[in-house]
């Protein structure tokens, strides 16, 4: 009786009940979001980058060539790479050390220490950077007070280019190391204990265990975490904006802060878009490697 009873209404309803239709409808908000709020703005940014300052005329790639001829922009490229690479290396090393130290102590004591060590990652960056800014204050710096106690002169933390660069890297390392620690700790816990025992029976020392057991087992997690962090650090805005806003004399700008200054503060939207688009190549390369790593890992997991 059932199929005969509703001849035509059934077909529409059947279509709506089909798995793929249901799935598509469920994903529709996501598709709209990605399309309208990520893909469209990215393409729009490329279009904007090809307009003149008043956005009246199409100028092709001349914004890009103009920027590449400016020494300020060379400094921005250099500074972005220096900032991202040294901060990521520092974070990866400190995170690695922390994860190993943490792995040495019994599980139930890890909780409280992990809780305390993650605090830099939990406090919103814009707010904790304010705290750092205050620590680096030219006249009231609490660091300089400590240094004065042992007879060292006041350091112009954010006043000179070299120290300002150091401070930015320091704050980013402080903020990001806990994340690395958590990722590495999770990876360390998944290394079977028997491997270490087998290595110990074969007479491997601490260093050899690290070199031949730990590092190969963690290789995937390390590479994915480093690439992720490279992208995020490269695109950082908050730390530099709050600490120096690019100063002194535009020597500490990175892509995002320079794009903000040019595009929003000076009102040259096309040039700002051009600056930020220079991030795309490196983001694309890093994403390619991450995707490859993820794909390889899921293949290994399926196998």
């Amino acid at each position: 009786m059932y199929p005969v009873a509703r001849p035509r209404v059934g077909r529409a309803r059947k279509f709506l009940r089909r798995r793929s239709t249901v799935a598509f409808l469920m994903c529709l908000p996501l598709i709209l979001l990605i399309g309208l709020l990520v893909v469209y703005p990215t393409i729009y940014a490329i279009y904007l980058a090809m307009l003149n300052k008043r956005m009246t005329r199409f100028v092709g790639l001349s914004n890009f060539t103009f920027l590449l001829s400016r020494s300020t922009f060379h400094l921005v490229i250099f500074q972005s790479c220096l900032f991202a690479i040294s901060a990521v290396i520092a974070k990866a090393l400190i995170g690695f050390v922390l994860a190993h130290l943490m792995h040495n102590i019994p599980n139930k004591r890890q909780r409280i220490l992990r809780g305390l060590l993650l605090i830099p990652w939990v406090v919103p960056l814009a707010l904790s950077t304010l705290g750092w800014w205050w620590l680096f204050d030219p006249s009231y710096s609490a660091f300089n007070w400590l240094l004065g106690g042992i007879g060292l002169g006041p350091i112009p933390w954010l006043g000179s280019t070299g120290w300002a660069r150091f401070c930015m890297i320091l704050v980013n390392t402080w903020y990001g190391s806990p994340f690395f620690m958590i990722m590495y700790l999770a990876a360390l816990k998944s290394v079977p204990e028997q491997l270490f025992e087998a290595a110990a029976i074969d007479g491997a020392g601490t260093w050899q265990k690290l070199r031949y057991v730990t590092l190969p087992m963690m290789r995937n997690v390390i590479s994915i975490t480093v690439l992720f962090s490279l992208i995020v650090t490269f695109a950082d805005f908050t730390i530099v904006r709050i600490l120096t806003a690019g100063g002194p004399q535009d020597t500490t700008h990175i892509f995002a802060t320079y794009a903000f200054e040019v595009g929003i503060q000076s009102g040259d939207v096309p040039m700002g878009a051009t600056v930020s688009l220079f991030m795309l190549p490196i983001l694309a390369v890093a994403s390619f490697f991450i995707l490859r790593g993820v794909a390889r890992r899921s293949r290994e997991m399926d196998a």
């Binding site: 940014a45 904790s128 992208i231």
Partner: protein, 300 residues
Amino acid sequence: MTSASQEALAGLPVARRRLRSLSRQRRWALWGSYAALAVFVVMFLVPPFHMLVTSFKTSGEISEQKVSPWFVAHPTLSNYVELLHDAHFLGFFYNSAKVTVCVVGLSMAISIFAAFGLARMRFFGSGVLATGVFLTYLIPDSLLFIPFFQIIGKLGLINNAWGMVIVYPTLAVPFCTWIMIGYFASIPKELDEAALIDGASWLQILFRVFIPVAMPGIIAATIFAFTVSWGQFIYPLAYLYSSDQMVLTVGIISDLIRADVFQWGKIMAGSLMAAAPPVLIYAFLMDYYVAGLTAGATKG
């Protein structure tokens, strides 16, 4: 070690002696690790501690510089009390809460439905979409803020906190979807097959089976969405400029710094109060927080 115990040790068979030296090595490694971790904890907590100390000081005590900047001679709560009576500051709090609640609700709704579709069913282009979600996660806010400036301007939402509700989901949705796909995919297929045979619709399966079972994942994703939208900085800095529309992250800087007068005590008190909601959530739900952090990279 005393000579008596050394003699006792010499009497032991070699194997046991080695065992004991091994356990001594272990103990040293243990105490060394504790000591090193304690040093790291102290270093990591220097800035929050200094913020806390400063927040208890009056502007007078800060500028006098008589006592060490690391201690407070006459602790006072006046900074906190004044801020809590400051209509602007309360307004920032309200705006932050308003924007965050809307964004979290919106993001979770979008990502739970999408993750369910992507984890359990196939349709034309679903594989591409899953990769697309991942790639979106890699496009940073510092690249999107310039085109958004134009788009939001055209929509007439510049200097309007509601504009943030439109742009914030780009930060939270991709990662939340990614986490939820991982959690949903780990639910055994037998469960939804059994429900289908019992005549449940897809929506019923989602709400009666998947959401209850994947609750830890949903909590982790919600915490992530909350943290991200509460702490977002570049969008509000670029699009909001009047005090009645600002959110906490930018309001503290622009409202408490007037004409080069830095009210440091108040800035620190305000920052700590603004940081309180995410820190409290973290304190009570640390395990979910950590699970969400690692799920993004390990489930995939």
